[in-house]
């Protein structure tokens, strides 16, 4: 287990619920769940066997202190941000954001599943779009396909060939972007500085809570 993880586990001893409430975005809502299951049923239903644990079950596991099972789970990473659970919850829990929050926390602690494709996507996307302020779709797709190493990338690349070609034909994928070209913001520096500050502030806020 990672260092950060051990620290937090120690800090919150046996109270995983409290840990989530303080450290995960919207975590303070978890305690309000009444286990009706409408969120679980609302999650895109063709996704099985996608979910090990649907939201309502995750919440129950948090209350039951199943820390490792929750943080290392794949489940939160299956969220497509469709917001069905969010709008149907009779207790008005912002479930979509809670799922994101728990996932983000697991990642922050370094205990999220290794090679979790959605996590990788999230990293890649954010790094891509914050690099220049705007998404470079070609580089995005490249880095996605090559995430499992070069050969796999080629394979995936071939798989996706038709897709890519189609887009290129339709002038919706600009190979030029791969070579330094492509869209970017003017004030990249400002954006970087701004984001650095934001990261710093957020880390401070969460640490303060843990310290309290």
């Amino acid at each position: 287990m990672s260092n950060a993880n051990e620290q937090m586990a120690a800090r919150y001893k046996n109270n995983f619920l409290k840990e989530i409430e303080e450290q995960a975005e919207m975590g303070e809502w978890v305690k309000m769940c009444m286990q009706c299951g409408v969120c679980s049923g609302s999650c895109p239903t063709n996704f099985h066997p996608g979910w090990d644990h649907p939201p309502q079950e995750i919440f129950m596991m948090i209350r039951a202190g199943k820390r490792e099972e929750v943080l290392t789970s794949n489940s939160m990473w299956m969220c497509t941000s469709c917001y069905n659970c969010y709008v149907r919850c009779p207790r008005k829990l912002p479930i979509t954001h809670i799922m994101h929050g728990i996932a983000e926390y697991a990642y922050r602690l370094g205990v999220a599943p290794k090679f979790q494709p959605t996590l990788h996507l999230s990293q890649t996307f954010w790094n891509n779009c914050t690099k220049t302020g705007r998404v470079n779709e070609v580089k995005l797709t490249q880095s996605l396909y090559f995430k499992d190493g070069f050969m796999a990338g080629i394979k995936k690349g071939l798989e996706m060939k038709d897709v890519a070609l189609g887009l290129v034909k339709a002038k919706r994928l600009n190979i030029m972007e791969a070579l330094g070209g492509g869209h970017k913001c003017k004030d990249i520096k400002g954006i970087q500085a701004m984001l650095a500050k934001a990261k710093e502030l957020e880390a401070k806020r969460k640490a303060a809570k843990a310290a309290a």
């Binding site: 009444m34 286990q35 409408v38 679980s40 049923g41 239903t45 649907p54 149907r88 009779p90």
Partner: protein, 427 residues
């Protein structure tokens, strides 16, 4: 012109459902003068629209028969139907009340012989049966309607249809000239027993009520099971009249939900447990019921009723708030969700889905014509500042019939306390 005899020792009861009738009867049978005001053209309220009661599976109309006999035998109660209180002024022990009377267009000469109904061809929605069927525009609201008099629906007044009805009546009972009138009366105390309304199921959009014909509400299901109902007591699908043998009951349809009703409506669990008996009664072992629930609230001694239903192999329970309903090509509603006891996904087709819609106080949204205090759900709260106006029954809380009647009986005493005080003061 309608004349009402009332003094500041009179008790005004607003609402002629079982709570209002009870409050009125208990007070009158204790020697008090009572004016009973009801918005419908008939007394009995929503209990009269139920087929059976839990847990005894007996018939509400049986109690209604007794209450009506008590009423007919009691000269101290004046009943105003098609009447709504429009204003209350004054204070405890001395209220002045205005009541708006909508014309029935049929006077006390009516013998309920039915000739006007035969003469008229125009049809209107059958309100008593929650609009599941149609009735003639000259109608007796239902077999136990009191007063036992026909009603000429306003929609035909001024049309040849109404003239047909008038011509058919041998007893001069039809008065098409009747106008809306407002009567004023005194009252020493007021019992507010305006009851409840089923939560509007169309607002629960994932269940597609109003879009899918085979998704109905619990109150509508009562009418399907009742021999007086639109299907003569047969449980049939609205879409195609086919027998509905595989019925789903969705609990907390609107209740316990911050997007709809925050409170638990209390009666719906027992209501659905009761309604599984209707399915069993109609189709024997071919009738299957499934109850989708969060918590089964079969409170206190009702537990044994729940236990009996649970023991019935034709009834299954799934701990789940149904996420959404879709419809297959045969118009079977398909329920989607997860059984939370051990995370089991389901997508179950049923012949018919009954939404156990919750209880919304009728006073909600309506401005009660007096400073009556209501909580944020719209239920009337006991309020020292209005010590002469008392809530009763489901206007005060989500109650089953039994508790509503208790509440109404209590309200009657509170009202009597006020008028007795007035009497002592004037003696």
């Amino acid at each position: 012109m309608t004349s009402v005899v009332a003094t500041n020792q009179t008790i005004l009861v607003v609402g002629g459902g079982i709570s209002g009738m009870t409050a009125a009867l208990e007070a009158a049978e204790t020697g008090k003068q009572v004016v009973l005001v009801e918005r419908n053209p008939w007394l009995g309220g929503r209990t009269a629209q139920l087929y059976r009661y839990f847990p005894k599976m007996c018939h509400p109309t049986c109690g209604l028969e007794i209450n009506l006999r008590r009423l007919k035998a009691n000269p101290r109660i004046q009943v105003l139907t098609l009447a709504e209180v429009t204003g209350i002024s004054g204070t405890k022990g001395d209220y002045s009340v205005t009541v708006k009377l909508t014309p029935r267009h049929v006077n006390e000469n009516c013998t309920a012989c039915g000739d006007c109904g035969k003469a008229v061809s125009a049809e209107i929605d059958d309100a008593f049966n929650y609009n599941l069927g149609k009735i003639k525009a000259a109608y007796l609201p239902h077999s136990m309607a009191y007063p036992q008099r026909y009603v000429i629906d306003r929609s035909i007044v001024g049309t040849p249809e109404a003239d047909k009805a008038k011509a058919a009546c041998k007893y001069g009972a039809i008065d098409l000239e009747q106008q809306e009138e407002v009567v004023s009366l005194k009252a020493g105390a007021i019992v507010w027993a305006t009851g409840w309304k089923p939560y509007d199921a169309e607002k629960i959009t994932p269940y597609r009520y109003g879009e899918f014909p085979n998704v109905i509400t619990n109150v509508e299901f009562e009418r399907l099971a009742d021999p007086h109902g639109p299907t003569g007591g047969k449980i049939l699908r609205p879409s195609d009249g086919r027998e509905a043998k595989n019925v789903a009951f969705i609990q907390c349809a609107g209740s316990r939900d911050e997007n709809h009703l925050r409170h638990c409506s209390r009666f719906c669990c027992m209501g659905s447990l009761k309604q599984t008996h209707y399915v069993q009664e109609a189709y024997g072992d071919a009738g299957k019921s499934t109850i989708y629930y969060i918590d089964i609230r079969a409170i206190d001694r009702f537990e044994d009723f729940y236990a009996k239903v649970k023991a019935n192999p034709n009834v299954s329970f799934i701990k789940s708030k149904v996420a959404r309903i879709s419809q297959d090509k045969d118009q079977n509603p398909v329920l989607w969700g997860v059984n939370t006891e051990g995370y089991k996904r389901y997508s179950n087709p049923h012949d018919l889905v009954v939404l156990a819609v919750g209880m919304e106080p009728s006073v909600k949204g309506v401005d009660i014509p007096a400073e009556v205090m209501a909580d944020s759900s719209g239920f009337i709260m006991a309020d020292p500042a209005n010590a002469g106006i008392f809530g009763a029954g489901c206007a005060t809380n989500a109650l089953d019939v039994n508790r509503a009647v208790q509440s109404a009986t209590a309200a009657a005493l509170r009202a009597i306390q006020v008028v007795n005080k007035v009497a002592r003061a004037e003696a």
